[in-house]
């Protein structure tokens, strides 16, 4: 089921990289005539062009209309410039071009991959411009996409992982736009009108609110001309005001959702950091030791390797425009919930109190810096990086300096940053799984304000 997740967000939760032997790609930047920031990397090896247009038009811009950003994004190619959805999709497919659109919390992005042969690229770009600039938002397509969004919301009810994540965000970001699922709610989607979509597009799909990333078989001059042509019909508009800052949690909370699964899904954490945060490197490198380093990280070793309690056990900072979440998670057979949860808590606390050992830090640095070339080994990976750098306004030498920044991190910096940024006594704990009287989670009531809820069943 297409639950829309922004590419940017995925990138943040993904593994991060930095420069090793390989020089970082040369990023050329400029501003389009109407104020869009463009990031371009020339890559001549393959006859491919990738382009991504990123707007600050994610679900944090929804206001009271949860799901509006995703609905707008999904409707762009459902009728534009007088062409039907069939004509538009045939337009891309006839050329072998791939179109995509997605919306997450911070951004909405539109992407195209085409062969660089002008006979294919030119018409693909024309079709892309049509979708970008002149979406018609037909009523029948709106109704269909609303129905699809409603099914998407219902599909989350059959996924304990998705339920846990929504509950976690709702509690961690209470009062902030990040608290509301980007997919919206049944009520908000049902109430959506065509005018909502039209005005969202008008306000946010404007050039001053756009970042463009391009990688591929083009010269800079060709890329510049391409951008101007693409944005020609789009108004300059205005950059929207900043979204509110995320508030630090004042007390712990435990949320249990009763669910008929064989495992209990556990999410633990609180607010973390933003993109470009001063603490980014100590926290990123430190968390690599704790739970972000895959099969060698502490949580994986303690929970899976030593005890066989879960298939996955990890922790991540997910930096966003404003402070995104810090999340530690695992899934375990329900009767082991107490044991797994207390182990997870224990190891988070030990790490926050003591930081990594020198040896662990060294091993993580070697993995991160030694693996730097892997981060940039394809056009797809490069465009994801430059899109992120552009959208979040990270320094243009972000990639070039990445390894040096990683290598500069010390044990003391990690301890200091973890202590300042995470408070285990204020963690939000979410558990989704079968309720049980004899299980441990009940004992955790004392930790914070307890909430209990049922997984809402068929409610469409």
């Amino acid at each position: 089921m297409a639950v829309r997740v922004s590419r940017i967000f995925l990138l943040l939760t993904a593994y991060l990289l930095s420069p090793y032997i390989q020089a970082a790609p040369v990023i050329q930047t400029w501003q389009s005539e109407k104020g869009a920031n463009v990031y371009f990397v020339e890559a001549k090896e393959l006859p491919i062009v990738d382009i991504q247009i990123i707007f600050d038009a994610g679900s944090s811009r929804n206001g009271k209309k949860a799901g509006l950003a995703g609905l707008t994004s999904s409707l762009l190619d459902e009728g534009a410039g007088g062409l039907t959805a069939d004509q538009i999709s045939q337009g891309f497919d006839n050329l072998g071009a791939n179109y995509g659109a997605s919306a997450g919390y911070d951004s909405a992005s539109i992407s195209l991959r085409s062969l660089s042969d002008p006979a294919l690229l030119e018409p693909a770009l024309e079709n892309l411009a049509r979708v970008l600039v002149k979406p018609d938002f037909p009523e029948d397509a709106l109704a269909r996409q609303k129905n699809r969004a409603l099914i998407g919301i219902r599909s989350k009810q059959q996924s304990p992982g998705a339920l846990a994540r929504d509950a976690f965000f709702a509690e961690v970001f209470k009062g902030h736009p990040y608290a509301v699922p980007s997919s919206g709610t049944e009520e908000s989607i049902s109430a959506m009108a065509r005018n909502d979509v039209i005005s969202f597009h008008k306000n946010y799909y404007v050039t001053k609110n756009a970042t463009i990333a391009i990688v591929g078989d083009l010269t800079k001059a060709q890329a510049m001309a391409m951008v101007e042509k693409l944005l020609k019909g789009l108004p300059a508009g205005e950059k929207p005001q900043s979204i509110p800052a995320v508030q630090v949690l004042e007390k712990a909370a435990t949320i249990q959702i009763d669910y008929p699964s064989t495992q209990t899904h556990i999410l633990l954490g609180q607010t973390g950091i933003k993109r470009g945060d001063a603490d980014y490197f100590p926290l990123y490198v430190g968390n690599h030791v704790l739970g972000g380093g895959g099969m060698v990280s502490r949580l994986f070793v303690e929970i899976r390797e030593k005890r066989g309690l879960s298939y996955s056990a990890n922790s991540y900072f997910s930096p966003m425009r404003e402070n995104g979440p810090f999340t530690a998670s695992l899934q375990t057979r329900t009767d082991q919930t107490e044991e797994a949860l207390s182990l997870l808590r224990e190891h988070l606390k030990i790490f926050i109190d003591n930081g990594p050992t020198e040896a662990e830090l060294e091993a993580s640095k070697k993995n991160i810096t030694g693996g730097f070339p892997l981060r940039l080994a394809s056009n797809s990976k490069i465009i994801a990086y430059i899109g992120m750098i552009g959208f979040y306004g990270l320094p243009e030498d972000y990639l070039e300096t990445f390894n040096a920044n990683v290598n500069a991190v010390t044990v003391d910096q990690i301890k200091d940053a973890f202590k300042r940024r995470l408070s285990p006594d204020k963690f939000v704990t979410v558990m989704v799984g079968p309720g049980s009287d004899e299980q441990g989670p009940e004992k955790d009531k004392a930790v914070g304000n307890e909430q209990k809820s049922k997984a809402a069943g068929g409610s469409s």
Binding site: A97, N147, G457
Partner: protein
Amino acid sequence: MKLSLKDRFLFNRLWCAGPVSIFLYLFSTVAFANVYEYELDNGLKILVKEDHRAPVVVSQIWYKVGSSYEHEGITGISHALEHMMFKGTEKHAPGEFSRIISENGGRENAFTGADYTAYFQTLESSRLPISMELEADRMRHLIVLEEEFIKEIEVVKEERRWRTEDKPQSYTYEVAMATAFQTGPYRHPIVGWMNDLDNMTVNDLRDWYQQWYAPNNATLVVSGDVNAEEVYQLAKKYFGPLPAGKPLKVTTRPEVIQHGIKRITVKRPAELPYLLMAYKVPVLKTALDNPEQVPEWQPYALEVLASILGGSGSARFASNLVRGKEVATSISAGYNFSARLDHLFTISGTPARGHNVSQLEAAVNEEIEALKTSLVSESELQRIKAQVVSSDVYERDSVFYQAMIIGMFETVGLSWKEADKYVASIQAITAEQVRSVARKYLQEDRLTVAVLDPQPLDSSPRQAAAGGFDHGR
């Protein structure tokens, strides 16, 4: 709903050692013109694909073993063994393999399918010898420790709970496979039945390892910023001293001929109904083995057929069923072209609001009837071919993918050279051939229909969740 060529493939075909998902996008294929092929005296095959765009190397070792090599009672053993392959050798303690790769900036994992088990590392290219030394070591010198097995089999069970038991669509898929295949080995889930996992012993794994892990049952695929001759020399150095295993004999109980449609209903706690239709069809490997029965073009025509139905945003399912009749919220078509044995052509989807599974099935059947009665238009066919040609170029952007295709083809018994013929073979397919395979294979006597009938999520879960499975403890 955007459907792409990439979405046509079923979600649960691969099981990984670590919780890092690998996105496998089949097919079209990469051009393999410059693949270098070597073989060591002990039978290890080495395939090298140079790609010098970035200073990165992907090293994959493929074994000809997977769930389709298993028999009743030991299902899941190939996948369980894959997990144990990280648990130490005579030279390296449990977990050390991963620590060494990690300290060298590498990423690694492994995956098990029905027809193969593979291990891979991605590294900065000068560090290839590190992965070769470690892989050669665990090819013949694994120690399957009892105390490690006892923990790891619990991890495997957690993986099964997470991927199958608690995911109603995956659960339905598992039951459908076990129904469609009555005697053939694709009826086994890759992860194995829970009861077999409960009863598996460390000695079973040791035997399985001795039986299948040997250079003469493996293929080393290296792609990236390397020199083929140097790779060969390295492989000779590290894998050369390993003794060959006994000659391997694979006996497969064949699938019996199906007589009549099979229909099943799967009741699980869920929110949305789900329809899965699966037709038994030949694959490229079985066509090449029996050319009198299955002409070589037929698997390619089935590929085109899958694209016409579910390949992209302009395909018939998206155009007619998601838009048009608005009977589906999502619907896709999949064909396991590169299986080792006859496999399935599948159609799966979720009804749109206000529609039920029967209406969705009826709408799918209308599309299938249309393919049997009318020829697809030339423009439709050209559109599919344009996408195959461009995908072939796009996929060269991934060094990992290139190695993947070579390894998979080789391991199921197709030569990697077959992958090179893919684009031309698709381009040669005619509208008549598409209609011909629709008529021949999309028939009731080949069909299994599985329906997920959602049960309440909010009723008391205790029975269903805690007692519904034989967990054994």
